[in-house]
Amino acid sequence: MSRPGERNLWKGPALWWALFAVTWVLSSYSRDLSKALEARWIVKYPAGWRLPLKRDISDAMKWLVEDASFGLFSFKDFTRGIAWVIEVPYDFVRAAVIDGFVVGVGSEASQIAPSLSWIAVIAVVVAIGHTAKSWSLAALVGGCFLYLAIFGQWDSAMVTLASVLISVPIGVAGGLLLGIGAYRWPAFDKILRPILDLMQTVPVFAYLVPILFLFGFGPVAALVATIIYAMPPMVRVTTLALRGVPTEIREFGTMVGCTRRQMMWKVLVPSAAPGLMVGVNQVIMLSLNMVIIASMIGAGGLGFEVLSSLRRLDIGAGLEAGIAIVVMAIALDRLSQAFAARPAKVHSEDAGGESLVKRHPWTSSVLAVAVVTGLAGLVLPAFQSYPASLTLTTGPFWADLVEFINVNFFDQFEAVKTFMLTWLLLPVKRFLLGIPWPWGIAIVTLAGWKFGGWRLALLAGGLALFIAANGLWAKAMITLYLCGVSVLLASIIGIPLGVLAAENARANKVISAVIDTLQTLPSFVYLIPVVMLFRVGDFSAMIAVVLYALAPAVRYAAHGIRSIEPQLIEAGIVAGCTRWQLLRKIKLPLALPEILLGLNQTIMLALSMLVITALVGTRDLGQEVYIALTKADSGRGIIAGLSVAAIAIIVDRILAASARNARARLGLEA
């Protein structure tokens, strides 16, 4: 630990406390001040200085949809062409797993071949599971799909599966190509980076309207939105994985005289494969995250099932459909991880003599199952689709449970809520909303300068000004308040859980199962019971955000503690530390950079949840995006979306810079 670092540490807090005190005073008296000076601009950004960007973007969209042309064909023809390219395979997969193959359109259609029967689909996933790893994996994924059949989610689940089977390959292939491009040409990487940031931080709702206009109505628009949302991690992972290929392998490639193309596809990509699979896994998970939103613009499937159940307040049915999404995520996640961990294939030399059936036992037996059940299904419908009379539902149980809690414990919940509102939420809200906007921008700029120099200061200040200039300052502050309080709570709960998970193997198992479920279960499923218990308002929204954003706080804290070098801990033990001292003086400080990264991710997730919480009536940027969606106002949505992204980018850059500083201070990195 170096000397200058410590001096900074001493100087830093004093400065920030002083700034905080000034801000507090300004925040408390800004209204009086603006009245006394007759300067309303102090508290409210003057309407006359606003940028007309909203209208410009809407006009640009209109031009793009109605007039833009490349000469031979219009821009809309071009996007509709892309839509067709996606729709053909989508229709094919959908026909294969659920709809059956038909000719003709609309109600004229007549079936020429049935879809795969439910038994055949399960046989396929079991076969894949066994090929990828083992019988136990096969049993797991088979069980997952069996759940879908038994709980009556089969039809919707297959529609969702079809869209995942299309969006994932496109997302992976697109991400791979862009990632390779970024690896090869540094200039391209520079351009791509900010675009990826935007793709990940602008809420999907913000660009749904333009996508609907350009790609038409129905599942394709939803697929396009899913791909945009799910692709960025693949691009990043690809670039990282390619950079991580050991130099020896690269040199070997050069030695045997590879061309550039051979070098890329025969040497680099295969050796980066395990890393690439992490990206594939991310694309799958994010695609499933999008299921609910996609169903709002016509994707149907499990997301629609969740939404329509909750509109009927059928909490049990909503939960079952939500769990079906989780189950599907588990199955696809385990399969993709198994493929990632699979040892490289060894080409066997002696298979030539055997028959086709013997060489491909799985393919042939699955084919046999498909044909047999398909034919049997013509006679006995139970072979084709799982009989409705055998489905289970736990719906009434959940409804009764929520009612029981509601009737018996509402007053206790109300007391907790009132306490939190009075002592935490409302003071924070008042403080943030009181800050005069010019001072707010100044603080953000200063923070940027302190942590990352003048470049970061310029970026942070510029983005903050962008928000103010579009008249969204107040909404941005509410966003910050809701997000900030939630992140605080998520960290208070999540970091100790993470530490516990790292120290205790049994706790780890339970905690990671809960965290995984919370992340893949659509938040809408628990949002409605939360509203029943805590009413519409910021508190309900906060609970939903905390539940969703908890995961990274736990994971990164656990990872940080686990990856501390054992010598350092042993040194602590030798020096006679108690367990508590060990944790406080050695483990936590050393895990700090990881914890900060986790904090960063928690904030990103909290921001991405705000659009969902707008559905229970918050008044932040999320609501602005949501209003724009329901009014089909592209300009308004995109501006509000960009403002969310601006907050995310400011926070991300400042935190990343401070994590770097922390690392340097701890001497972990040069």
């Binding site: 038909v102 359109v105 109600s107 939404l307 509109r311 009927r312 307040l313 559905l615 089909a632």
Partner: protein, 317 residues
């Protein structure tokens, strides 16, 4: 929604010819008529009933999931053809804008009347005996209060996107209430369900036709009757200085279509114009689906079977 597979269709053109002989030869054009589906049960019922009737008339029908407001973009271009429920109260603005372009046609009323108003469960009458008159609300505002709004009463309004001028109404009628906006109607009715289970005070925006006023026992608050002047002219109504000092408008639910429907499928155009169902009938069907858990397509089939005389009149007109 079964979608045609263009690839397969092209490959097996011969099969297509034999398979796709129209069920009835009355239809003018065998391209599918695309009806939009939204996410509330009443609309699904209205649309599916219309769709099934059109099928009986020999038309090729396709259902497309689309957003309530965003669908107008599709209706203008002819990507989508028919939307069966545009509520006077929530969709009027978008509808008028679309009709003004000339690419969308208003096909008249469905026969259902949209009601949107402040609503309370009957047990609240015991604590606030003056109800349903709105003036009684001020006397018992505290009964409706929550810790956040006390001493003012709490009124749970619809999502801000629904409009409705509740904030203005509270101010104009000098009511001691605070308006809290729910984000979606799922959240709105979740809160009603919760309060109803505990017999707790609640006052909120309810609309009909919907399952809620059927499932829960309650009444609409009676405000001074709505008039267009009341909304536009401050001097009219209770408060001489402010507008919106009256109840909400009640209005028809409209049917709209792409304007090309008239030329492409004239018979279907007439049938959609003739479609007529009233609140009670629809309310009963919505209840069957949402509260009794019956299959939606089954309820539609039941209606079609029971009302052959009515709908055959629509097609033949």
């Amino acid at each position: 929604m079964k979608r045609g597979l263009s690839l397969i269709a092209a490959l097996s053109a011969a099969t297509y010819l034999s398979a796709a002989v129209p069920a009835a030869t009355a239809a003018e054009n065998q391209d599918p008529i695309k009806l939009t589906l939204h996410d509330w049960t009443g609309q699904l019922l209205t649309t599916k009933i219309m769709g099934e009737v059109l099928k009986k008339g020999g038309y090729n029908v396709e259902y497309v999931q689309a957003d309530y407001i965003a669908q107008f973009a599709g209706l203008k271009t002819g990507d989508l053809h028919v939307a069966m429920e545009i509520w006077e109260t929530t969709g009027r603005e978008a509808m008028d804008e679309a009709v003004a372009t000339g690419s969308v046609e208003n096909l008249g009323e469905t026969g259902m009347q949209a009601i949107e108003e402040w609503w309370y469960p009957s047990y609240m009458k015991e604590v606030c005996p003056g109800l349903p008159d709105w003036k009684a609300l001020n006397d018992c505002a505290e009964e409706f209060a929550s810790p956040e709004t006390a001493p003012k009463g709490r009124y749970l309004g619809g999502p801000v996107t629904w409009g409705g001028f509740d904030d203005e109404r509270v101010e104009a009628l000098e009511m001691d209430f605070e308006v809290v906006h729910a984000g979606t109607d799922a959240a709105l009715f979740a809160e009603l369900e919760s309060a109803y289970q505990r017999k707790a005070p609640v006052l909120l925006w309810v609309y009909a036709p919907h399952w809620a006023p059927v499932k829960y026992d309650g009444e609409w608050v009676e405000f001074p009757a709505f008039s267009a002047e009341c909304y536009s002219d401050p001097s009219v109504g209770e408060n001489p200085d402010l507008a919106y000092d009256c109840g909400k408008p009640r209005g028809p639910i409209w049917k709209v279509s792409w304007s090309g429907v008239k030329d492409k499928w004239p018979g279907a155009h007439k049938a959609i114009k003739a479609f007529h169902i009233e609140n009670d009938e629809m309310g009963a069907m919505v209840t069957k689906v949402d509260l009794d858990g019956k299959d939606l397509d089954g309820v539609v089939a039941e209606w079609v079977a029971a009302n052959e005389k009515r709908w055959s009149g629509w097609i033949s007109k």
